[in-house]
């Protein structure tokens, strides 16, 4: 299944500056490993050394958080959009 993964601004530098990447996958886990095998530098930003999704990165299939679906086992269908949404702190930024 071809699914679109939307790369958030802070991580685009590690994904060939692309806004989104299309990958073939049947689950969210497969989509993310497809993505990190294409862009090795992304891996440490998305996963801990034990391979767990980092706690400041959330992943959505369409508008649902995968933590409330089947996590990385969540099935994806043709045309689904996966969003990676990291926490960003920015606001006033003086320095």
């Amino acid at each position: 299944m071809a699914v679109k993964v939307i790369i958030p601004t802070p991580l685009r530098a590690y994904a060939g500056k692309q806004e989104s990447v299309e990958v073939q996958a049947a689950t969210v886990g497969e989509a993310l490993s497809g993505l990190t095998s294409k862009f090795g530098d992304l891996k440490k930003h998305l996963f801990t050394e034990e391979g767990k999704l980092r706690s400041f990165v959330n992943v959505y299939v369409n508008d649902e958080d995968i933590r409330y679906l089947q996590k990385d086992q969540t099935q994806v269908r043709e045309g689904d959009t996966i969003s990676i949404v990291p926490s960003i702190a920015g606001g006033i930024s003086a320095k």
């Binding site: 949404v85 702190a89 606001g91």
Partner: protein
């Protein structure tokens, strides 16, 4: 300590009615049924605390004051600097060097003398947060760092106050409302912050000047809606805005039953040490890597002047190179791992970036890759400008 200055503590005059001047001032609200006299009186009686008087705080403060929110608290400790003026529209060039809080309060009082502005020229801390927040109905978070984000969240959950959240990066914004009893909080969304250094800050990443204007204005809109009780608030919905694509997207946010601060088995029942929680050591946490060999700008200048064969590696982005450079070989940090072959480990290498943070990561990475004759330029190109060549612009 929180210092409270400004308008005396007298209660807002006759909250239950509007003067003729106020009726005229707010007439465009009064003639629409969604606000009307009832909504305008709610606005007059409302008390909103804005944390941060910067990029987000500027439009927020302006619109809340203009709309007639009766009492607005501002918390900020910074002074206005030149780099703020690109987006922090509360301030003018003549305010540079002044405390933001006093410049902001002056501006808002000039905009609307009918309302009360409370100023807190302080950092929000675990010691003062509950005391500062407790008098307000709604808290609006426009801060720029993770420790304060978690502090504001936890304080709002503990006090049961709504937290209108907005954050920005480059051309992307996130907006939602946390802190409602049935709705999620920031920790439900992100239980833990990123380790320092893994996600670039605004100061490194930059921000499109108008972006905080848009995001702060959305925060103002949500705040006004909460006060007048109209419309569908952004509770349980994360609004993502991409200014380049000019697209808004919306994601569902759920309350996490295992949330450490608002879940059923909560473990956080009072404010904690947020600097420690976020892994920030002290005021500045320049780098996550330690034991990096360094060279100062003056030492580098001396060695270059005597003709030493040094290879200068610039790990910034190409657009930064265009602002100023030291004639270095450019490999952005994000590309370093796959462009390592461009470097000769037998030569002496000095890596630099803007402030020394990214290049410290680069040096750490290259040392692990076997490079031995490599140094980080201490303080980056900013320090080079200060100590060696003031003609190099700082940005």
């Amino acid at each position: 300590m929180a210092t409270k200055t400004g308008v005396p503590t007298a209660a807002p005059a006759k909250a239950a009615s509007l003067s003729n001047e106020e009726v005229l001032r707010y007439s465009r609200h009064l003639i629409m049924p969604e606000v009307g006299m009832e909504g305008q009186l709610k606005l007059k009686q409302a008390k909103v605390l804005c944390i941060g008087a910067g990029g987000l705080g500027a439009p927020l403060g302006l619109y809340l004051a203009a709309a007639g929110v009766g009492r607005i608290g501002l918390v900020d400790f910074d002074a206005v600097d030149f780099t703020n003026l690109q987006r922090q529209v509360l301030f003018g060039t003549s305010d540079v060097g002044q405390p933001k809080i006093s410049a902001a309060a002056d501006r808002l009082r000039n905009l609307n003398p009918e309302i009360q502005i409370d100023t807190f020229e302080t950092h929000l801390t675990s010691e003062n947060a509950l005391d500062i927040l407790k008098d307000y109905d709604i808290v609006v978070d426009g801060t720029d760092n993770f420790p304060t984000r978690y502090l504001v969240n936890d304080a709002c959950v503990l006090l049961g106050k709504p937290n209108v959240y907005g954050s920005i990066f480059r051309f992307e914004g996130q907006i939602t409302i946390f802190g409602y009893p049935d709705g999620p909080c920031y920790r439900c969304l992100y239980p833990e912050p990123p380790p320092p250094g893994l996600v670039p800050s605004c100061a490194e990443g930059g921000v499109l000047g108008v972006l905080p204007g848009i995001v702060g204005t959305i925060q103002a809109c949500e705040t006004l809606k909460l006060i007048i009780g109209k419309g569908q608030p952004l509770i349980g919905r994360l609004l993502l805005f991409d200014a380049l694509a000019m697209k808004f997207r919306e994601l569902k946010l759920r309350k996490n039953p295992e949330c450490p601060v608002c879940g059923e088995h909560r473990t956080i029942t009072k404010l904690i040490d947020y600097a420690e929680f976020c892994g920030v050591r002290g005021e500045e946490a320049p780098t996550t890597v330690t034991n990096i060999p360094e060279i100062t700008p003056r030492e580098l200048k001396t060695r270059l002047d005597r003709g030493d064969d040094l290879f200068i590696l610039d790990v910034r982005e190409p657009h930064e190179y265009q602002i100023c450079n030291l004639n270095g070989h450019l490999i952005p940090l994000g590309e370093l791992s796959r462009r390592v072959h461009e470097l000769d480990s037998s030569r002496e290498i000095v890596a630099h970036c803007r402030s020394g943070k990214r290049s410290a990561e680069a040096v750490d990475f290259l040392r692990k890759a076997g490079f031995r004759k490599i140094w980080n330029l201490k303080g980056g190109i900013l320090a080079w400008s200060d100590d060696v060549d003031p003609k190099v612009p700082k940005y």
